[in-house]
């Protein structure tokens, strides 16, 4: 399943890639493959902006504005003026999601 088109903020710079394959190891959506000893993006629309690739790329070849794709978290972020955060597990918010 894919979400909205052309929404993901994923940016990848092939020149910096060393071909270690970490991004493929961590991506839950199969966004990356190795092509000619370097990572390549298969389909940008598959990206859910979890940020695992950017966090684990030792060569800073990947950047993504990571966050939770969760409506109630985004609404909470709008109301509090902060970053959208998952309220899951905060007894104070009483949220029972995820």
């Amino acid at each position: 399943m894919r979400y909205l088109r052309k929404m993901s903020t994923l940016k990848y710079c092939a020149e910096k890639c060393a071909g270690c394959g970490r991004c493929i190891e961590v991506c839950p959506q199969g966004v990356f493959v190795i092509r000619d000893k370097r990572a390549a993006i298969t389909d940008q629309d598959l990206c859910m902006e979890c940020g695992a690739c950017a966090k684990n790329c030792d060569f800073n070849a990947i950047a993504v504005s990571a966050g939770v794709g969760c409506a109630s978290a985004v609404i909470r972020g709008m109301l509090t003026g902060g970053e959208p955060t998952c309220g899951c597990g905060d007894a104070s918010t009483g949220s029972g999601c995820c």
């Binding site: 399943m1 979400y3 959506q29 966050g67 985004v74």
Partner: protein, 365 residues
Amino acid sequence: MQRLTFIPSANIKKKPLPVWTMGTISTPAGAVLKVRTDLSRADIWGMVKSRVSAFRMNYIVMPGLYAVGEPTKECDVFVTANYKMSFDALRRELTGMNAWVLVIDTKGINVWCAAGKGTFGTDELVKRITEAHLNSIVSHRRIILPQLGAVGVSAGTVQKKTGFRVSFGPVRAKDIPAYVSSSYKKTTEMSLTKFSVLDRLVLTPMEINPAMKKFPWFAAVVLIIFGLQPSGILFQQAWYGGLPFLVLGLLAVFSGAFLTPVLLPFVPFRSFAIKGWLMGLVTNFLSAQFYSFVNTQDKLLLVTSYILFPALSSYIALQFTGATTFTGMSGVKRELKIGIPFYFGALGISLVLIVLFKIREWGLV
């Protein structure tokens, strides 16, 4: 918290130990609790309760190191969250193996959500590796994390700080035996999240529950509106006039919190708001067919129901983005940017129409 990891043998008898433990194993760093790999009836009941209620909010395992089987210095170390359901999913897959399990403190939240929050994170992992004296318990320098933990853990930093090289294993614990026996090679299948109809179905109770908690407020407003007369509130009128709207409200919850999630890939459009709105429209249409009251009684109410309930279903369906495996924040923000004015608009128009209905009912025009 840490006490349970290296229980001095004298202490073990004092504290009642969880039923899923079975004695201890001695290590250079002290005694380590051994865990069973079969799930008891209590474990399964805990899983069911976590799927349907707030019971999940405090379903935890003490963080620290545990042993499965009779692990040696050479055995693998698997890391997991201290949400009991995550821990259970891991240990049942380790049946017949000798391994170490390092439970890190994620405040009782599952791996993926905790990683998104940063509690299943680099610092916490480094802290637990150090506190458990993992470097004196195993001779190798590798640990296996669930792949979805990568959102919160930087493998490079962990290696720099502890010397342990992180391997991100399969997404699902059930693939661990195959992963281990293929000398830690992941197939593409093992790296991808799935979101089958069953996966979606088990998530729906926690979509319906929060929505139903707010339902009494909706019901109260509906009953007051329909019961309100110049002479006061008439209960009979409140009930007969309000009942159709209460039923349609329930069906909107059902449509947004159950039908849309379960039928997700089959409902057209990628937007959750549109999916939910369409399902709400269909539900409202079908129920209006069976329920002649709205039709015959008043066209104004019929129109109101078509404006209000699909929008309600849409809003509830949008909440399901938080439970999916594939929605991103940028997309959700876009949906809300368009959705929220639409929902307020639908609510406003509905209220105006209801006021018109009451004005006519009271014979003011």
